[in-house]
Symmetry: D2
Subunit: 417 residues, 4 copies
Amino acid sequence: MDFSPSPRAADLTERVRTFLQTEIEPVEADYHRELAALRAQGGDAVWQPLPLIAELQGKARAQGLWNLFLPREHAGEYAARYGTDGGEGLTNTDYAPIAELTGRSALAPHVFNCNAPDTGNMEVLLKYGTDEQRAQWLEPLLQAEIRSAFTMTEPDVASSDATNMAATAVVEGDEVVINGRKWWSTGVGHPDCKIFVFMGLTDPDADRHSRHTMVLVPRDTLGVKVERMLSVMGMHDEPHGHGIVSFSDVRVPLANVLLGPGRAFEIAQGRLGPGRVHHCMRLVGLAEMALELAVRRATTRTAFGRPLVKLGGNAERIADARIAIDQARLLVLHAAWKLDTEGSRGALSAVSQIKVAVPNMAQQVVDMAMQMHGGAGFDEELPLAAAWVSARSLRMADGPDEVHRGVIAKLETKKYA
Amino acid sequence: MDFSPSPRAADLTERVRTFLQTEIEPVEADYHRELAALRAQGGDAVWQPLPLIAELQGKARAQGLWNLFLPREHAGEYAARYGTDGGEGLTNTDYAPIAELTGRSALAPHVFNCNAPDTGNMEVLLKYGTDEQRAQWLEPLLQAEIRSAFTMTEPDVASSDATNMAATAVVEGDEVVINGRKWWSTGVGHPDCKIFVFMGLTDPDADRHSRHTMVLVPRDTLGVKVERMLSVMGMHDEPHGHGIVSFSDVRVPLANVLLGPGRAFEIAQGRLGPGRVHHCMRLVGLAEMALELAVRRATTRTAFGRPLVKLGGNAERIADARIAIDQARLLVLHAAWKLDTEGSRGALSAVSQIKVAVPNMAQQVVDMAMQMHGGAGFDEELPLAAAWVSARSLRMADGPDEVHRGVIAKLETKKYA
Amino acid sequence: MDFSPSPRAADLTERVRTFLQTEIEPVEADYHRELAALRAQGGDAVWQPLPLIAELQGKARAQGLWNLFLPREHAGEYAARYGTDGGEGLTNTDYAPIAELTGRSALAPHVFNCNAPDTGNMEVLLKYGTDEQRAQWLEPLLQAEIRSAFTMTEPDVASSDATNMAATAVVEGDEVVINGRKWWSTGVGHPDCKIFVFMGLTDPDADRHSRHTMVLVPRDTLGVKVERMLSVMGMHDEPHGHGIVSFSDVRVPLANVLLGPGRAFEIAQGRLGPGRVHHCMRLVGLAEMALELAVRRATTRTAFGRPLVKLGGNAERIADARIAIDQARLLVLHAAWKLDTEGSRGALSAVSQIKVAVPNMAQQVVDMAMQMHGGAGFDEELPLAAAWVSARSLRMADGPDEVHRGVIAKLETKKYA
Amino acid sequence: MDFSPSPRAADLTERVRTFLQTEIEPVEADYHRELAALRAQGGDAVWQPLPLIAELQGKARAQGLWNLFLPREHAGEYAARYGTDGGEGLTNTDYAPIAELTGRSALAPHVFNCNAPDTGNMEVLLKYGTDEQRAQWLEPLLQAEIRSAFTMTEPDVASSDATNMAATAVVEGDEVVINGRKWWSTGVGHPDCKIFVFMGLTDPDADRHSRHTMVLVPRDTLGVKVERMLSVMGMHDEPHGHGIVSFSDVRVPLANVLLGPGRAFEIAQGRLGPGRVHHCMRLVGLAEMALELAVRRATTRTAFGRPLVKLGGNAERIADARIAIDQARLLVLHAAWKLDTEGSRGALSAVSQIKVAVPNMAQQVVDMAMQMHGGAGFDEELPLAAAWVSARSLRMADGPDEVHRGVIAKLETKKYA
């Protein structure tokens, strides 16, 4: 069980750290203030990315800190061409500490072109895309020229059970006809979001895991409509956002199908392991950031004549947060290492474990940090409220806690069956 | 230990319930949708109360369901003149079930003129105001012609320790000169908010609890400025809102002082007991509403071939929520009964107990209800996200959990000293 | 919702409190030391009750503090003849504060002849017994001349589902023939334990809740054998204890059947409500005792130069314990009041709620108190280890937490069905 | 961060696993049954080790599975002479998986001569002992010819603060005179326990961490008396046990001092890191054993027509236990690796973290496993009750949770000071 990153990955990690400290942290508060001002002002301006993002992306790319998420296994020539400094992809274990660092900042994943859902969609294209699909969509994504969305979850069915998906993707000759409504489609608020990975029901009579198909649907296809943007606890996560998208008799060429009709679950399996490691590792970074803020506040703010850290259970809360974060990080590294050494199948329990443990940990650590800040903890001038929302929503996104606990329990009981 | 409401209070409770079901519930979703639309549109429109509120207030007042919060002890002639049907105030025990009902709806407290911080400010005026102060401010408040704010908490000091307040209220001849910055001043967003109860430092050399003064500051006094509105997890609670208010050489007549210079703590003590009972009882109602939604969802939504309530720990979660709510309600009734029978001093531990237990309970129950709803739980179309924010912020407002635990522990250890 | 005891019950409560303080507390540590010595010495001596018990029982009875558990509804003439001072039984609400007091001491329930399972068995005889059954078994039980056991749970089936009981009680002519093994039969260690209430399967083909029968089985019947005594976390709860009992072709007259063949569930329903209130109210008293010890320790023991209560989260732990106990007490009073006003059926959820909430609360409060005592907390010289075992085992006895949560959830979901 | 054991350690681990499965597991239940019978019979027989232990020790030693705990850093020639197969000690990372395995069985640590407190005492002798001290005490300990105790904690002071120790070790000429009372001295029940490591106050005026001395006190020295054996939740952990020991004018030669007068804290620091890793890793094994029992029970026991694992939250409980155990194991491996790579000082927070996290985790997992077993979970025929006691007492032994949280918080706040 070796969680050490390769020397090259360790070097990249340090360079990402420096970039964060010198390029992102100094401008982050201003960025959020500017965004808040746009938000207060209302209308659509808030959905137009502020120029800072592109500027930082340019710097990151120039330093070779670009597309670092590209998985060694599938990166192929793309790593050399569009990114990862040094010419090949990183293992999950290598990438994990980088993901942790980018989790400290809401901007960072975008700056390094390592943000969900684009990373997951790029992985799918890498792994399952045809040359044409890759040329048309993967290459501009790797260059951040366009953005993408993953449209799977539906408002009308319990989407925690992915076999429930009822939107249809019917093959008619050399076309696929798409109908239905999707929501929580992250990224659809962004003006550059040009391509949707759509999951729909193709053959209701097939075996439960062979009914659905994944299809590439360009956003500007006739019949595609973003109905409205969703809020998470009052936040809209502009300029990416999460939306409700309806598809009415949308027609795309059969060539837009990924892997083949009825093979959506095959793709979903492969897609989710690394993505969950990324999400969870970013949450570890988020929790570290929150703990740092809590400690700084606790040592500098005075009440009843003493710094907060000397009052009541506050020091113990800090200790508990430290323990929780360290346990969570190790568990994510363990899942990354399992993915690297045993693949998706062997890492099934490990990945579900982090998906339960880490967002819950982050939610609690951030909650503690908010409480340590008094009223300041809730307002948008500090990143804690947004951090809480991020942690909380990841107890639902990519499968609710309860479903992952079910997966773990099933594998656990099998051991003695 | 008799928690039964008087027959008159029981009757009022039933009438409030009917009003909620017939007048408020049917229009509530539309109200929030309209508000959301204004919010998305941006600008100041969202800070203008929608006409529905005044309309419902008229109906409630016509039915004698008005100012029900008026405390029997201090209501005096005002109950008869402005409100509580039957001509006298209610005890805390009587009012508690009414507060619970109004907690189910974000609108209801305003509709019945029973919303914080106006209720607390009216109580202060009732109990400590001069005839002139009452004529000028209490009477229009009782008629909902104006709204008020309580400006105490400050961004620059740990306000959990109220002796920290550093904004000044200096007596100069027959004037009081006010300087400083306050925040989390609830209600200042409302265009009718005309009067602030301000707490400031008058005599830094006096005994720790005799340094501060409460002063009535009309909002339109020269030097008063609402700097900006604050968000709680991205929400602004329009049209009331919470703001940062600065006071620069603000001068008001000495006659605006409440009770007398240096007597702010005396007022604060008396003000907070009933207010905390109201807050907590409303949270019990909020949690009941959330549990009802969770149960309805769990019994009607299907995943993996079964209703959610049959999956994993969901039924146990519902049971735990039921237990938690029932325990919380009883604890609040107990605190109300203590206030009625032993007064603020005798109820000190009981009131701090509910202030710790109930918001935490509500936060957890709402969190569970959100999880049961999947993605729908986070969006503003359901009241759960706002409910969570309400519960969470009450772990801070009116004193953070940690301070109240300190009060309880102190009283507990005194028993054996 | 009136939880006030009647004046007579309040007076009895005060007299029980005085008796505890003057008669029991001063001798309790010695009693346990003597018992520990017998235990260390080994052999059967420890199963012989120490004379102190009978002595204290005599005093209690002389003061009319005897059989106070007798339920108003069913006490009939027995209350006047054998006990409750004043000539009639108490309501559940009346008795609850008395049960709380007796819960502070492991001895007290026995001293007042109010200990499980004798109380439950006496209630069954009162409610369902024939005149002959009452004359033979109830009268000596009311006088503490004999003790009884309830033999229901079986080692070989999940007894949380009472319909699983597989030991048989077959009617053959005017006899009942009993076979099978029972365990966790509390009280069988006591030399005066003369009568078992046995629950067995009579008609496997009947409706699920009409298959079982309750039968009175004198302990000295041929074929009855106490196989061995069980330990709970290393404790045997001498001299009462919990045993495994086997029944091999045990024959008793048909007249020993309670209520009638196949009617065991009817009896079980009626038996359990008040018994659970008693158990839970005693646990509230136990937790109060533990909290008192914790506070005394925290205020008098010094580490790192300060009393423990000033260190870390200790004061907050004390506050949380106070809140938890007060909530639990109110919930039990609520269940008692429900039983009094709505009967077993109406109190179903309320009784299951306390059965989940109170033992868990007590387990946590005692755990905290142990921790506050350092190593001293674990040893038998302090009552904390035994208190923990008592609380923990009540998360299983009378139905595990999980089954009660199921009951509550079922009733909750029915509300909206 | 490489947690992989060396190939040699991996081989030893497999051999220990085989030994456990073939030599220990088949006889363990009988061993405990025999012990229980002795216990019930009373008297001193239970303090005489059953012959099985020595027999198994012989086998283990013959296979080179002996003294595996010997730390690479300090093992020196002793590893080759008395033990670790292959001739040198293991690193903490190497030994951790072995410790985990031995934690599954209460017997195993003794069988492999790897049990506390002998291991800690042997480490102290290795590291700080003179040649004479090592010849006299270390060599027979390494051969399990004698046993030892560590007498530090005192009943009359809060021993969580080790500077409180009040028993005295006064240097008089070439002797040390010892007075005072110690408790929770583990191992003093064993007839072979011949040597105590005693910690006493030598110079009350010295610097806070230079006042105390560690002295070797042969048990048969005049004035040493084991007053009584202590119980933990009713268990005595025979034949080792925990006792209260009094020292009355006990005189030993100055040559028995370890390292030098006033240097006890230096020794304590070095002693505790590896010991805590051992304890915690054994608890991980204990929790794994408990989870295995829980899963086996949950899948084979039926209630309400379904296996327990299909009922309510049981599957989710199993998943949560799996997550908790895996996180705990990783955290212990992390602490072991820190000790190996950065030494005691660098591992300070990591070691305190496991000391908080792991016993709490084990207590909860075992509690869940007990609950899954119904009544069977509490009785001594299953190892769960003893496992719970072991986990619970380690929240106190070697420093209570609260003190370790304090250490962690201090180091955390230093980062930003």
